[in-house]
């Protein structure tokens, strides 16, 4: 079972803090990978404009690197910043890592004054096009391409990878940091199987295994929506379901939990919008997950969320204080990230809850599926 940690704070902090939390939950992963997502970026040597999309990934060979940089230029992206990690390559187990990159671009002129939707679509198209540039010999791995978000994924032990990238040097900081220490399960050890998964600003990471993965994947793939690809891990569907809920169905965030773990008939009978939710359950039936899972996610506005599957067999916990909050798959992870909080105010969500850390970070919001659904059309 993978270990998950998320920290969000008003003041940007080093991702190394979150990696130390991973250390405290070490029993739960096997060194088969680490994934990091940073949002609300701050670079020590560059005044970053949060509208610049950041391309994160790995060019596995020199040729791949050349292809990638040329392509970006050709597509009209103007390089504004190229982050150079102070690497300790001997700590990286894999050998085909020519260059890790984290590069901020100015979006092509044609898209600058367009709506977010159009710009997001362009960024995704670029990311998919870069993916297509990759070949067996000259591989390119793209983790994300989005404003104010950077990602790192690597095979190995979390702390070791943190050291390899010298993440403790304060070069990179962020207001939100998600980390996953991977426990390899049914699917092979693969860079692309590391969480968090990312699509157009929406990111989630999960522990446990979603046994309904294959039917959900088949349904998502059948929708033919750009970006619904990959699926090296059963957990990638959680990201895409969240993306589908918010961006395609344009439903409020509350709908996510109603889609992945709908209420049963008896509960819906008592719910003020029971008819609507029963209809939604039916229409989204193939997206019902089968955990046990704890799903931790972040959205472009820096909202953080935590939900459990219906069986609620995971002990994920949220805790913190005004201005700084942490979510972890185990309570010791929260302790490690925010030791100076009142632990009696920690919260472990039950099957019906969605825990929200809003962008203002003043207090937690806890939504219940039994609450009225905040959508006029559902009334």
């Amino acid at each position: 079972m993978c270990r998950l940690a998320l920290k969000t704070a008003d003041e940007p902090f080093s991702p190394y803090e979150v990696l130390s939390a991973m250390e405290s939950m070490q029993e739960g992963y096997d060194g088969s990978g680490l994934g990091l997502l940073l949002r609300g970026m701050e670079f020590e040597d560059f005044k970053y404009n949060p509208r610049f999309p950041i391309l994160s990934g790995i060019a596995h060979t020199e040729k791949a690197w050349k292809k990638l940089t040329e392509y970006m230029e050709l597509r009209g992206y103007e390089l504004k910043y190229d982050h150079r990690f102070h690497m300790q390559p001997e700590l990286i187990e894999a050998e085909d890592r020519h260059r890790y990159f984290m590069r901020a671009y100015r979006i092509p002129i044609a898209f600058r004054d367009q709506s977010d939707e159009i710009r997001d679509a362009e960024l995704l198209r670029t990311r998919l096009a870069l993916r297509k540039l990759a070949t067996q010999e000259d591989n390119i791995t793209i983790f994300s391409f989005y404003p104010d978000v950077a990602m790192i994924k690597e095979v190995g032990w979390p702390m070791q990878i943190g050291n390899a990238f010298c993440l403790h040097d304060g070069q990179i900081k962020s207001r939100v940091c998600m980390a996953q220490g991977r426990q390899n399960t049914n699917y092979g050890i693969n860079l692309n199987a590391c969480h968090p998964f990312f699509l157009q600003g929406i990111s989630t990471m999960t522990n446990g295994e979603n046994t309904a993965f294959v039917p959900i994947r088949d349904w998502l793939v059948g929708k033919n929506i750009p970006g619904y690809t990959g699926y090296q891990s059963d957990s990638e569907v959680f990201t895409h379901i969240l993306h589908y809920t918010l961006k395609k169905l344009k439903l409020p965030l509350q709908a996510y939990k109603h889609i992945i773990t709908p209420l049963n008939n008896a509960e819906l009978a008592k719910h003020p919008q029971g008819d609507f939710l029963a209809g939604l359950r039916l229409a989204c039936k193939r997206l019902i997950i089968d955990g046990p899972n704890a799903i931790i996610g972040t959205l472009p506005d820096e909202t953080c969320l935590l939900v459990m599957d219906q069986k609620k067999q995971r002990p994920a916990t949220v805790g913190g204080r005004e201005g700084v909050w942490a979510i972890a798959s185990e309570i010791c992870g929260v302790d490690a990230m925010i030791p100076d909080r009142d632990p009696s105010l920690d919260f472990q969500p039950m099957r019906e809850h969605t825990v929200i850390i809003p962008p203002h970070r003043k207090e937690l919001e806890i939504w219940s599926q039994y609450d009225p659904f905040p959508l006029p059309l559902a009334a």
């Binding site: 295994e209 309904a212 939604l280 039916l282 039936k285 089968d290 069986k311």
Partner: protein
């Protein structure tokens, strides 16, 4: 040497060893009570008077001679019209275990005479092939072991229902909710449905027992089982009862019983579960329903609106419309309208290499509530043997192809596919059904299995019994003869229906729990199944295991 002329030899002369079933009779146990001959549905055995020679020796006069005694015993008929069907009723009624049919081990010579008077063999039952079916060989082998512990089938909450009826895409659902559009009707039902067996094919007691059992499953056990009527209409008291909601009304090419149904609509207390439009049947694809004259009793004639005692062959296709596409479209729409668009309407077709084109037609028909596909191993009350044995398409690959086709269009949630034809053929009903579900079916129809399990139908795939077409069912399941169907107690049938569905429900959970599935029926969970047959695994796109 006996003279040739004294031996009666005709082309059809057979001896008991030539037969499929041979009566073993022990004269030392027989009390000549006559119960076996009275009960035999075929008249295959008779009391016969026989003469036996007894040697008579006159020792003193040194003479040898003969004496004769006569005795009465049971003898088997060899006339092809009266062949033993192996039902075993004789042995069931014999007080002394003096008689029983045994399967003949010699080659079955009777097959060459099943065309007397130019009439090919007709029968009830299903394809006569024995041994494990493909579905029997499918294993559930994606067992939760590491990060997703297997569940406790006894204590955990499981959702074991499925949806019957058209489901909108999430986008359409939201759009119509917002603009007050029509949301197609659907039903949450148990995925094992009692398949279409008509009132006419089944005896009144069998039908009543099934309905009672279904009502008990719904109202007491909380298992939402539904049953389909088949082509023969539905008794008016059921149409006007609150039990109609457990019934799928079938309309087929003979339209039998639909006068009554249409007239009853204003008086219905509730809507039926669904309407099934039969275009084809797995056991006899391309052939219409057939109720032979033996079974058209006064009651059945009244219900179907026909004269008594006439054959009722339905045409192979719906005759009133020009093309099948138009027929499907118009009938689906008309029936949906008749029930004010509040009842799911779906077609039933025979499994066929052309099933996908029907399916794709339905995808574009907004009123179509699903597709039911019936495979070659499906049962029937009456059909030509050649249709049953050799015509049709196995269900597994047909449903799999259709599911994958829907999945490629992202429509697998919108049109549920139901499968039938050989589910539970060897008794493994839950296993067979769940294998179909994981291949992509939303549920399965079971007919023959229900007759066997709930009423003790004696038919099997060694051509035992299988006389449903003749109205002489020894158990009273498929007979309209009062004397025969009174043997069947509807209360006992209902009790067995309850037993069967409780047990299926438990087995479904026992299958889902180790897979870590409990939140929804694992439709299309093809990663969970495997088979030790490479060709089948490749064809079905599932895992080959050995």
């Amino acid at each position: 040497m006996v003279s040739v002329r004294s031996v009666s030899v005709t082309p059809g002369s057979l001896t008991p060893t030539d037969l499929l079933w041979i009566i073993e009779h022990r004269e030392d146990r027989c009390t000549l009570c006559g119960q076996c001959t009275a009960v035999c549905p075929k008249g295959a055995i008779r009391l016969a008077h026989m003469r036996q020679r007894v040697p008579k020796l006159d020792v003193f006069n040194k003479k040898r001679g003969n004496d004769y005694r006569t005795f009465t015993g049971i003898r088997q008929e060899t006339d092809p019209a009266k062949l033993c069907i192996g039902c075993g009723m004789c042995s069931m009624v014999c007080p002394n275990e003096a008689i029983t049919p045994v399967a003949g081990t010699n080659e079955n010579r009777t097959v060459f005479f099943q065309n007397l008077k130019g009439a090919p063999m007709t029968r009830g039952g299903r394809r006569n092939t024995t041994g494990p079916t493909l579905l029997d060989k499918i294993m559930f082998n994606r067992i939760s072991m590491l990060t997703d512990p297997a569940l406790d089938a006894g204590r955990h909450e499981f959702t074991t229902t499925t949806t019957l009826g058209r489901i909108l895409s999430p986008e359409d659902f939201l759009e119509r909710t917002l603009n007050g559009g029509w949301i197609p009707p659907s039903r949450e039902i148990f995925p094992f449905i009692i398949g279409s067996m008509s009132f006419g094919a089944l005896s009144p007691n069998m039908w009543l027992g099934l309905l009672q059992g279904v009502a008990y499953c719904n109202e007491v056990l909380g298992i939402p089982v539904v049953m389909c009527t088949g082509e023969g209409g539905c008794p008016p008291w059921v149409l006007k009862s609150p039990y109609l909601k457990y019934i799928i009304l079938q309309i087929a090419s003979g339209y039998f019983g639909w006068d009554e149904i249409i007239r009853a609509i204003p008086e219905m207390q509730c809507d039926p579960a669904a309407i099934e439009i039969k275009y084809g049947q797995g056991a006899k694809p391309g052939d219409g329903g057939l109720l032979m004259w033996y079974k058209v009793s006064k009651l059945i004639a009244r219900l179907r609106g026909v004269p008594e005692g006439v054959d009722l062959p339905s045409p192979p296709v719906h005759q009133t419309l020009y093309s099948i596409e138009e027929s499907v479209m118009k009938m689906v729409q008309t029936l949906s309208t008749a029930f004010q668009h509040k009842v799911p309407v779906y077609p039933k077709i025979s499994a066929s290499t052309s099933a996908k084109s029907v399916l794709n037609n339905l995808v574009r028909n907004p009123y179509a509530g699903g597709l039911m596909i019936d495979g070659i191993d499906g049962g029937t009350g009456a059909a030509y043997n050649v249709s049953m044995d050799a015509t049709g398409h196995p269900i597994a690959s047909c449903v799999r192809d259709c599911y994958l086709d829907l999945a490629a269009q992202g429509k697998q949630n919108e049109i549920p596919i139901f499968a039938a034809g050989g589910i539970g053929k060897n008794g493994n009903v839950a296993q067979n059904g769940m294998a179909m579900v994981m291949l992509g079916a939303s549920g399965v129809h079971i007919g023959k299995y229900i007759m066997q399990a709930a009423a003790g139908c004696l038919g099997n795939e060694m051509n035992r019994c299988n006389v449903c077409n003749l109205g002489i069912c020894p158990k009273g399941i498929t007979s309209q003869n009062t004397k025969l169907y009174r043997r069947l107690d509807p209360d006992k049938v209902a009790e067995r229906v309850g037993d069967v569905f409780m047990s299926i429900n438990t087995e479904v959970k026992k299958i889902m729990a180790p897979l870590g599935r409990s939140q929804s029926l694992p439709i299309g969970m093809s990663d969970a199944i495997g088979i030790a047959d490479k060709a089948a695994a490749d064809r079905l796109q599932i895992r080959y295991v050995c």
